[in-house]
């Protein structure tokens, strides 16, 4: 394997080259041209944006010499015959064919290229010209953490405010503060009693006590767990065409909430996301963390086309790469899939290094149990399984014995089989005329599986009357009615219904889930002929789409209760397959004694099966499978992102852009040497950096799948990696203040925002590391700051300077999130069910017919009165209140919620039954809390909803509505009020 020297990775050199590119221009005609010094910068500046490998627009690549020489663009030593020169030479008007979208090269530049070709067009093998990203390794986010740790949060904020002639606002009053901090930490409003106690608390440390209490509340993990679930694009259906619901991903949600409540060190939490199953394979509580890898959408439609299948697989891994790099590193590594990142210093090799790291991951459920649980289950199953095998053996022996007997009479049987076998395109029975009100086709065995009597399909069944003018009396338009258990689609009834068998058209078919198709005639009729089919008029009737009856009876009835057989397929030849022949023979040779023996064995077998089913299955969770065969390399760069165009070989490795930061950052804490734990084999580093960074890694190609993820996990949280703590600290700030110090929390690259308070961000990141990655300590530091405790009051003079309060001259007000709104409504109505954990509830009706459909519910029963974080969030499902108030579809990670205001919110909040139910519940609660005095009820309502008393005017207005239209009407209004869902 050869490691290329990616040209732009030599940043210092590259910068020097660009700026020093001209000296040679004026040089002597015969001065020797150096490719790296003279030519590469020209190509990099003017050509490579279009002419890079895998870009179909670019046609030819100028990344290495190969393409140019192969296609005759370049003939070493012969500039006049080199097509390249022709393309770049300007005509008299100063226009050249290339560069297409820019100015022509200067005369000096073309002369230089000429001379280079003339001198043999030497292009060192190891040099690849690449587009220079807008940001390089000197990008702010990649630098080691640096802050004056003697200064506080308030020092930093105040200093910057002062620079703009601003200052912090005065402290918010206690009523405002308790509402703010309670929502912030728990996602719920404080109760009126909590508000009063806090307001009345004489202790000057009352706020500190409150913060500590709230951080201890189990509600805290539910609130902050929900934030994290946004970041990791947690969704409980697979998306894409089938969008199948996933019923065992909730253990991951519970793991997140549990870990955050327990204040698990976040570096450990992140390591578990990437490699929990490696770190603790026998501890489900840890292994479940790795469900992160497969918590995103993926395409599960089987594709037989190998090119498309490879592309889909690449898309699936791409999703994991993006989710990982955005969540932990705040880098949009996904942009380097098709070409080097245009903005950030991320190469395609970086991207495919991660591809190699995740290559062994497949989506799906696996049993997730302790060794003890596994042992216990296999202990209980063993004897039952043995009994089951024994009975099956006896049944097999009996069947064999019957068959042997049947075979001895075979010739006699066969003589009776005088008619041809059933025919899917039309099977006909004629019989002596018989009076019938009902006619039915009874299936004894289906032609795809002799042991099944259902699953057959009928496109048409005709019943012909006797007499000179026979009519098909089965037809619906002749009064026939068809019944029979059929496959169902909920949202499109009758898609496979029995009516299709009597509609006079052959295209669509009845699909039986029972063993019969029954036709009721308009009136009792003398009939004498029946025809039925599953593939009428089809040229290829053999397809499984046309499953048909193999063995059958035709029966008639006059009352629909007593039936008489009038025809059967028993005198037909069986279908020409051994299994059908045996099935027929066995049926004919089975004696009454056999039948009883068989029935008794079957009964025993069923009992055993039931007992087996009773043994509780091992818990399973959607953490994905690990497939070593998929992880077997070698892995390549995919040129232009196409798995069909393999570029250079890559190995699992850390991101090159962080090498420098990681190299020069402060040293690992005592006792930590994360990268070299385990048996990770570090390959020799790239040639150009002989000094091996202690955090960076580059693994041997044969490294085990598990070790690759472990190496990545360790590198992500290595003390020398500045990005992870910076990104995490910013997320905390973002959720506390509504906007992060960087306002694009998952993009710290060139396209993202710049930090408003860079040193403060580093201070927070350093504190996070110092705190042992415990979030609660950092929360506390932020929440106790004057910056957080200040009023949100509006000051026009300050707003003139900083309208959005990004500098934090006031606490920025915000609207509640979808989850907070629903939880709040439930809590104040007295209906909130705080049962934590377990399978989620659904605000939609789930339907599946190959693909899945999610229909929002018109009524929400008490089973949905849990906190919204326990909703089973399916992708591409729209669920009224939740969607209206910007709960994101989890197709992507959502680092920042939108906050929109739409009339749909008004329609839902006014008219959905949920609001009406909650308004009634709140009214009942007010009556029970405050008796039958209306003023008391209104007082109580205001305390519950807004943590304050009504004004005189408000009280009067509320009184009027409640008197004319009832307390529920008033409650419906309060639930719709702005004040309920805004926080100051």
């Amino acid at each position: 394997m050869r490691f290329f020297s990616p040209w732009h990775v030599l940043f210092l050199l590259a910068v020097m080259l660009i700026s020093a590119a001209s000296p040679n221009l004026a040089g002597a005609q015969n001065a020797s041209v150096d490719f790296e010094r003279d030519i590469a910068p020209v190509i990099q500046t003017h050509c490579i944006r279009c002419h890079h490998p895998g870009n179909p627009k670019g046609d030819v690549s100028l990344a290495t010499a190969d393409d140019l020489t192969e296609n005759g663009y370049l003939i070493a030593g012969d500039p006049d015959s080199s097509h390249l020169i022709e393309l770049i030479l300007a005509d008299d008007d100063g226009e050249a064919e290339m560069p297409k979208d820019g100015k022509a090269l200067s005369i000096e530049q073309t002369a230089l290229i000429r001379r280079w070709i003339d001198q043999g067009a030497k292009w060192p093998d190891a040099v690849i010209v690449r587009e220079k990203p807008k940001a390089d390794a000197s990008w702010w986010a990649l630098q080691p953490l640096a802050a004056d740790t003697d200064r506080t949060i308030d020092d930093y904020v105040s200093a910057q405010l002062a620079e703009h002639g601003l200052e912090l606002s005065p402290r918010a009053d206690r009523r405002t503060l308790i509402r703010r901090v309670t929502y912030d930490l728990t996602g719920l409003p404080p109760t009126p009693e909590q508000v009063q106690a806090f307001v009345d608390d004489p202790d000057p440390q009352a706020y500190e006590k409150l913060v500590d209490q709230l951080l201890q509340s189990p509600r805290y993990g539910e609130r902050w767990g929900r934030h994290w679930l946004d970041v990791v694009r947690f969704g409980e259906s697979n998306g894409f065409e089938r969008n199948v619901i996933i019923n065992d991903l909730w253990p991951f949600r519970d793991y997140v909430i549990r870990s955050i409540n327990a204040d698990k060190p976040f570096d450990q939490f992140i390591r578990e996301h990437i490699a929990g199953d490696v770190i603790a394979p026998d501890n489900p509580d840890v292994a479940v963390g790795s469900a992160f890898l497969v918590a995103g959408p993926y395409d599960d439609v089987g594709n037989q086309d190998p090119v498309q299948a490879a592309q889909i697989r690449a898309n699936t891994l791409d999703e994991i790469i993006r989710a990982t790099s955005e969540a932990f590193l705040g880098l949009t590594v996904g942009c380097a899939r098709c070409h080097d990142h245009k903005f950030d210093p991320i190469t395609q090799e970086d991207y495919y290094g991660l591809y190699a790291s995740f290559a062994g991951i497949r989506h799906g459920s696996v049993p997730l149990a302790t060794p003890q649980e596994k042992h216990e289950r296999s202990q209980s199953l063993e004897p039952l399984e043995k009994q089951k095998r024994d009975i099956e053996k006896q049944l097999g022996a009996l069947d064999k014995q019957i068959l042997q007997r049947a075979n001895s009479q075979r010739e006699a049987f066969q003589q009776g089989w005088t008619r041809p076998p059933v025919d899917r395109t039309g099977t006909e029975e004629t019989f002596d005329p018989v009076n019938a009100k009902f006619v039915r086709l009874v299936c004894l065995s289906q032609d795809g599986n002799p042991n099944a009597a259902n699953g057959f399909r009928i496109d048409e069944m005709e019943v012909w009357s006797d007499g000179p003018d026979p009519r098909n009396v089965a037809l619906a338009r002749n009064g026939g009615k068809a019944t029979g258990p059929a496959r169902q689609i909920e949202d499109f009834p009758d898609a496979y219904g029995p009516q299709l068998a009597i509609d006079g058209k052959a295209g669509a078919r009845f699909i039986a889930t029972g063993n019969h198709l029954t036709i009721e005639l308009e009136q009792p009729t003398i009939i004498r002929r029946v025809i039925f089919s599953s593939a009428r008029g089809e040229s290829n009737p053999d397809h499984s789409k046309f499953r048909f009856v193999a063995e059958y009876r035709i029966e008639v009835s006059e009352d629909g209760e007593t039936w008489k057989q009038i025809a059967s397929g028993d005198d037909r030849q069986p279908i020409d397959q051994q299994a059908f022949l045996e099935h027929r023979l066995r049926r004919l040779a089975t004696s009454e004694e056999d039948r009883q023996a068989r029935a008794s064995l079957q009964k025993e077998l069923n009992q055993i099966k039931q007992e087996i089913a009773k043994v509780p299955p091992l818990p399973s969770a959607w953490i994905g499978r690990r497939v070593p065969a998929d992880a077997k390399g070698p892995f390549h760069v995919f040129l232009g992102g196409s798995p069909q165009k393999k570029g250079p070989v890559v190995v699992p490795s850390s991101l090159s852009a962080l090498d420098r930061a990681a190299n020069s950052a402060h040293q690992p804490m005592a006792g930590e040497d994360l990268v070299s734990t385990g048996s990770s084999r570090l390959a020799e580093g790239p040639k150009e950096s002989p000094q091996k960074p202690d955090a960076a890694y580059r693994l041997e190609p044969g490294t085990e799948e598990a070790e690759r993820r472990l190496a990545l996990a360790n590198w992500l949280v290595h003390p020398n990696n500045p990005l992870t703590p910076r990104v995490l600290a910013n997320r905390l700030w973002h959720y506390h203040f509504g906007t992060g110090i960087v306002d694009t929390p998952s993009d710290f690259g060139f396209m993202g925002g710049r930090p408003t308070h860079p040193e403060l961000l580093d201070l927070l990141a350093i504190r996070l590391q110092e705190n042992g990655w415990h979030l609660k300590k950092l929360h506390r530091q932020i929440l106790l700051s004057a910056t957080y405790r200040q009023s949100s009051g509006y000051r026009p003079d300050a707003a003139k300077i900083d309208a959005d309060a990004r500098l934090l001259w006031r606490f920025p007000p915000r609207r509640l999130s979808a989850e907070e709104i629903r939880d709040t409504i439930l809590q104040i109505s007295g209906k909130l069910d705080l049962t934590p954990g377990g399978p989620g509830f659904r605000l939609y009706h789930f339907m599946q017919d190959n693909v899945c459909t999610y229909v929002p519910l018109d009524e929400h029963g008490p089973e949905t009165y849990r906190r919204a974080v326990y909703h089973q969030n399916a992708r591409a499902s729209v669920v009224d209140l939740m969607t209206d108030f910007d709960q994101p579809d989890c197709a992507f990670s959502t680092p920042r919620r939108a906050e929109t205001t739409t009339p749909l919110q008004a329609l839902t909040m006014l008219n959905h039954q949920f609001t009406l139910d909650m308004a009634d519940a709140l009214a009942k609660r007010l009556e029970s809390d405050s008796g039958n005095q209306l003023d008391g009820q209104i007082e109580r309502a205001y305390a519950l909803c807004y943590a304050r008393s009504p004004t005189q005017t408000e009280r009067q207005a509320c009184r009027e509505l409640a008197r004319s239209h009832g307390l529920s009407a008033l409650c419906r209004v309060l639930l719709n009020s702005s004040e309920l869902i805004y926080l100051h």
Partner: protein, 481 residues
């Protein structure tokens, strides 16, 4: 302040799905950094009816036939299939596609008939549509990058094969804003048979603000939560809204800097106006018997009647200024492929003899009606499907497998040159050969007709200025009138 402080695109104009302030301004960062805003004059504001250049079209009707409607059985005549019926497809004798192996070439089960002044051959299964060919610009050289329905539909609607991106209608809603303040800007009408593959992702706002999502309604399913609950009397409703308005007004006044609070007041007013307007739009009884006859709304085939009613609803929405109507004819991949949509894997003849009659008359009626009323002058009509089908039959069947390499879409109406057939697949219909076009070219053209440069209509999301046309797309000049 640093450049990171992004201007909010705070919309002042009121529109149905939103007067809306948003905390997420995603106007393309690069444009802002480079000092040039989207429009030449640097005053371009999204959602204000402003365009980059003068527009031909004011609104769009997009008819979508999900399931991959076969180009060679509907729109693009392939005489070679008749000639070589039963013979192997040269060069691809062992082709394996989505569902597996393929057999030999299979001719279309139906004849094609020359239609209109242009003599364009159209499947005899579409006799009513055939009457419109002189107004249609066919794109026979379309090709997709996926052969799977879900990603294919989403690709055809959003320019990206993965979920989470805004659909064309959402982009138009964002760019253009509303024409009628009492109705949604973007409506998705799904079929009686269910939602298309990938469901609601097809009319998603993606990462654009929620107000740009396609609002679901059809003749069969009114807008959710639109009606006042039965248990609330009109008098109560009036009094309740009055009090609510007072409370919200007081709260907004006490927080004058928070424009969201004003927006909320407006949102409740708009909702009320919507409650009055929407039922009127959906009330088809106001149409004459002649119109009902034309659209086949009372056809004994209840699927045809249902689609006919949705076609009529589409016209009424467009007429009242809805910017983008997504009209679906057929739905998803059911347990039996080809049953509920155009996915004729095994029984092409039977399947299309069910689907074509549902599609043909009502769609043609809608086009006739748009022409009659003059709406077609500034309405762009698009017909789309996610990809095409194979010229061969699927091994052991009389149906066709998925073919992402060649298919047909078409345009008609505002700014479109009629009677054009641009691009073509090879003689068998296997691959786009002449003037191949992509979804991105398609939408570059759509945006062009609506007055936008597709490269300048962007929204920042997770590290990139995203576009409807991704990083591709050329306007197809040959179809412009």
């Amino acid at each position: 302040m640093s450049a990171a402080v992004r201007p909010l695109c705070d919309l002042t104009r009121r529109s149905f799905l939103g007067d809306v302030t948003t905390a997420l301004g995603g106007v393309g960062l690069l444009h802002l950094l480079s000092g040039s805003a989207l429009g030449e004059s640097s005053t371009w504001q999204p959602g204000q009816g402003q365009t980059h250049h003068p527009a031909k079209a004011k609104r769009v009707l997009q008819i979508f036939c999900p399931g991959a409607a076969s180009h060679m059985d509907l729109w693009e005549h392939k005489p070679a299939l008749e000639k070589y019926h039963g013979q192997p497809l040269p060069g691809e004798e062992d082709m394996v596609s989505f569902q597996g192996k393929n057999g030999n070439l299979m001719k279309s089960p139906w004849a094609f008939e020359r239609s209109g002044q242009t003599g364009k051959p159209i499947s005899s299964m579409l006799p009513n549509m055939a009457r419109h060919v002189d107004d249609i610009a066919f794109l026979h050289g379309m090709h997709s990058k996926t052969n799977t329905h879900g990603p294919g539909c989403v690709f055809m609607n959003t320019g990206h094969a993965t979920e989470g991106f805004p659909s064309a209608g959402a982009w138009i809603s964002y760019a253009l804003g509303s024409e009628n303040q009492n109705l949604p800007t973007y409506v998705a009408i799904s079929d009686l048979r269910g939602e298309p593959p990938n469901g609601k992702a097809n009319w998603s706002n993606g990462f654009l603000p929620a107000r740009h999502q396609g609002l679901m309604m059809s003749d069969q399913k009114p807008i959710r939560n639109l009606a006042r609950p039965e248990s609330v009397t009109p008098a109560e409703e009036l009094a309740a809204r009055d009090l609510l308005q007072q409370l919200n007004q007081r709260f907004a006044s006490s927080h004058p800097a928070n424009s969201d609070l004003q927006a909320r007041l407006a949102a409740y007013e708009l909702a009320a106006r919507m409650q009055m307007s929407a039922p009127e739009v959906a009330d088809l009884s106001r149409e004459s018997d002649v119109v009902h006859e034309l659209y086949a709304t009372r056809d004994p085939n209840h699927l045809k009647a249902a689609y006919g009613r949705n076609c009529l609803l589409a016209r009424r929405l467009l007429e009242r200024g809805v910017r983008y109507v997504n009209l679906y004819c057929a739905s998803r991949a059911s347990g039996v492929d080809g049953l509920l949509n155009w996915d004729a894997h095994k029984t092409l003849k039977a399947d299309y003899e069910r689907h074509c009659p549902i599609f043909d008359q009502p769609t043609a009626a809608l086009l006739t009606d748009l022409k009659r009323t003059g709406l077609l002058d500034d309405t762009l009509v698009l017909w789309t499907t996610e990809f095409g089908r194979m010229p061969t039959h699927q091994a052991g069947t009389a149906g066709r497998d998925h073919n992402p390499d060649g298919f047909t879409c078409w345009m008609m109406g505002a700014g479109v040159r009629g009677g054009v057939s641009h691009g073509a697949t090879d003689e068998f219909g296997r691959r786009a050969e002449q003037h191949p076009t992509t979804v991105w070219d398609f939408y570059a053209t759509v945006l062009h007709l609506l007055g936008y440069d597709h490269e300048r209509l962007t929204w920042y999301h997770n590290g990139l200025d995203r576009r409807l046309t991704d990083v591709h797309g050329n306007v197809i000049k040959e179809v412009l009138g």
